[in-house]
Amino acid sequence: MDWSYTIWIPLLPFVGFLLLGFYGRKLPAPVPGWIGTIGVFGALVLSYITAYNYFFVENTDMLFEPIKGFEMLWMNFTDVLQFKMGVLLDPISVMMMVVVSTVSFLVHLYSIGYMKGDPGFGRFFVSLSLFTFAMLGLVVATNLFQIYFFWELVGVSSYLLIGFYYEKPSAILASKKAFIVTRFADFFFLIGILIISYYTQTFDFLTLNGMDETSFTSLSASSFMGMSVLAWALTLAFIGGAGKSAMFPLHIWLPDAMEGPTPVSALIHAATMVVAGVFLVARLFPMYSHVDGGAVLHIVAFVGAFSSLFAAIIALTQLDIKRVLAFSTMSQIGYMMLGLGVSGLEGHEGLGYTASMFHLFTHAFFKSLLFLGAGAIIHAVHSNYMTKMGGLRKYLPITHITFLIAALAISGIWPFAGFFSKDAILDAAYMHNKIYFWVGWFVAGLTAFYMFRLYYRIFWYEDRVYKHTPHEAPATMTYPLMILGALSLLAGFVFFYVWPFAEYIGPTGKPFHMHINWILAGISLGVALIGIVLATIMYKKKNDIPDKVSKAFGLFYKWTYDKFYFDEIYMFVTKKIMFGIISAGWTWFDTNIVDGTMNLIGNTTVKSSNAIKKLQSGRMQDYAYAIVSGAVALVIIFVYIWTH
């Protein structure tokens, strides 16, 4: 089969981006939106065709070998240092392609309604198309260089979109924060890439993943602090992934990134870009599990579990609905990382990997649904704060139903999508390490609680009188909600029973059978139900239990509300310690020596030119005087030289 058409999957949004970039701002309001949407729709259709061909036509033997649909040499430096661009088709890239194009398409469609009347309408779709291009390019990357290239490109488009309302100082700060934090993490990723390619002499994923444990051991003889060099490189790459995926302690940018328009949060900071870190680990998963016997995966699992718990606790107390969702995203990505971290490579051992990918898949749908629903709510109420909401179920019926579906899905209630994937992750965690299972179990309860707290605070709680009666969003906004609602409802069920996820996507491409461990499922379902019940008691009707509870927790409540002061700690570290103490000498050098030298040169030039300006009198006699005296002086000099 000829797969070269797959190159158009990323290129179609890119064409849209170019068109919009050149002409977008001149077009009247809805047109750029439709251009961008059509571009992404093309990518959507192509990726569905690709998925069908890949899973059901090409690989009927259920052994999913990676295929390079397209590859070209972009920059050729030496025999080894070659930068290629291409399309790699394997189960996870095809799945990601589908997820990214689906969510991106729905978000494009939704944004046409959401951004209506915004002066930056065209600009918004330019950045959105750029992001879609970059993300699709990332997921089909054939090599580390390409993934890094698109990795930075999604960072840039994320920066542009977070700072979309650039006249708002908080948006600018948030976009800067997101860019700097992720860029900081990307720096480690880059070092990791350089180390990996230096030792293995390749960038190519297939080559890297094709090596076995002994060849990795022989490649990296040197070790540092008990881990081989390659293990360190993978750790560095994971730090890059953690930055992009907002894992503890590089999570601080994600809540602030909610300053961007809500569709952006749905697309970038919920469904696609933030899972790039998970995707990166999954992409290099065979390598992760081969190097040092999977030592780095322990780090991955720990960071994932801790972030999951940490974010869930913070999400309990937040009042900004988008921030609740942001921390919930962080928590769910922590789940995915945990799933990868506890996974093995062969057969049923690879359950964690499959579960993680499965959760990524379902999470993309219900989390973008939650964000788009939140967008519809914000659109109706003109506030981000749940204190300004309540009783909205009467005004926004479609949003209410879809939001409820998503909340049930993320809480992991059977038969919604989240149940199957979350259960699979908990199952894998249980097989690996009981502590991780109990952490995941506890987080599941917390998730159900804070999601239903959010749900009740928005839609029930108290009936209030709104200045402007909230009304349901236009069709371009509600249809994406309904489609995503259907996906959140069905994706888990269908991909568990009809086309079992595990038979298609596994760490080695060899299928295995995934089944529900009903005891574990029951325990986690139970805790989720407890969470929902607690939330119902506390928040369905306005009462004083929440206040009592928060008082009972006292200081702890305050800590969580202030996100454990991580922003403040970072500010202290960067401002006081790094800028104030460590780099003070350097700053002095910079301002006084470096800048001083430059200023001196500049000032001297200005001063001396002012001084000699008078020489340029414009009187030719003065010039002639200079010429003649110069000539005479030269003659004197030469005569002196010749005669002595």
Partner: protein
């Protein structure tokens, strides 16, 4: 060749003439007098060519040809310069070089 007069003598005369011309060029304010100074300079150079031709290479004529060209160029230059001077006078109602300073802008 002039009986009893060495080449050096003639050349000293042309040198002095040259530097008198330079002096005039540097000090004069009136455009026409500057032109006169330039003529002196050109003339001294022409003398140099001719004298060297005569004294050192009498069998050749290059010196004469060159001074012919100098005379021709001087004629052309004076023609243009006079036109410029008249133009200058029509703009400034004066032919003082001081008024030409604005040309640097």
């Amino acid at each position: 060749m002039i009986q009893g007069v060495g080449i050096t003598h003639v050349l000293i005369v042309s040198t002095l003439m040259f530097f008198i011309g330079i002096y005039g060029f540097l000090t004069r304010k009136n455009l026409i007098t500057i032109l006169i100074a330039i003529e002196l300079i050109l003339n001294s150079v022409a003398i140099n060519f001719i004298v060297i031709n005569k004294y050192l290479f009498p069998e050749k004529i290059n010196g004469q040809i060159f001074s012919l060209f100098i005379i021709a160029v001087a004629a052309a230059e004076v023609a243009i310069a006079i036109a410029v001077v008249i133009d200058f006078y029509r703009i400034n109602k004066s032919i003082d070089v001081e008024h030409g300073e604005t040309m640097k802008y």
